[in-house]
Amino acid sequence: MDRIPILKMGPFLLVTIQVDLYDRLALNLENDLISMVSKTGARGVLIDISAVSIVDSFMGRILGNIASMSRIMDAETVVVGMQPAVAITLVELGLTLQGVYTALDVEKGMELLRDKIGVMNDPEEDEEEPDDSND
């Protein structure tokens, strides 16, 4: 069965959707993400949709679901990289993705997530080299 890979990066989960999603794939992603949040105790989920050319109401609902479910599990969700044409279409369709944080790109999305959960896990007082990779 097809699945979209989920990467763990520190306290975050990272998903890059590179293919056109059909419904089953989107539902699998929703399930997998929520179980990953639970299993890893992730504090944030970043979903990159820069390669996605079509977001219809079903896909929009999945994104909303992921955000609400993650929030209940104490994780924030940021959707990044939405194509302008997709944004225009979504709003006309009537989907405003309420409750889903968005950012322009992965970098800004990560920043937003860090802000949201107030990362204080590593002492960032100075640019000390990250000697131990202890998360």
Partner: protein
């Protein structure tokens, strides 16, 4: 019950093609076919996205409520403007109250109820014709320049 948003003038059908939609997996190839056709007539990316999103909503309805159906894909031309016409035909249970089904937020399934009204907002012309017990036909047209 018929809801109309059409202009009257001579329309010429330039190409014609049919696709059967019976499984979820048919949706992606179908969307790709619509993209191909709209690219061919030089439709802008935003208009393509609107058309394909609307088509995606309608094809999902077909799968969900009627176990699939078929779509006719046409390149049409009217008043020297080209466009894409898609006709979604199913033999499902039909819609008893089309007016209600066209309202935002109404759904007999568990969806957001944006499919039909949303699709209508996204395309230039939208026509729905449903006979309870016989099936539903939805026709949409999106013009190259989106108007």
């Amino acid at each position: 019950m018929i809801l109309k948003k059409t202009r009257r003038s001579l329309m010429i059908v330039m190409t014609k093609d049919t696709m059967q939609i019976v499984r979820e997996q048919d949706v992606v190839p179908f969307r790709n076919r619509v993209r191909e056709l709209s690219t061919k007539i030089g439709m802008s990316l935003v208009n393509q996205t609107k058309l394909i999103t609307a088509a995606s909503e309608l094809v999902r309805n077909m799968l969900k409520y009627a176990n699939g159906g078929k779509v006719m894909l046409e390149t049409v031309s009217k008043n020297a403007q080209s466009g894409i016409r898609l006709i979604f035909m199913d033999q499902g249970p039909g819609i008893t109250n089309v007016q209600q089904a066209m309202q935002d937020g109404f759904s007999t399934g568990k969806s957001l109820g944006l499919g039909l009204p949303g699709a209508k907002r996204l395309v230039n012309e939208f026509d729905i014709n449903s006979i309870p017990g016989e099936g539903t036909t939805v026709t949409i047209i999106h013009w190259k320049h989106g108007r």
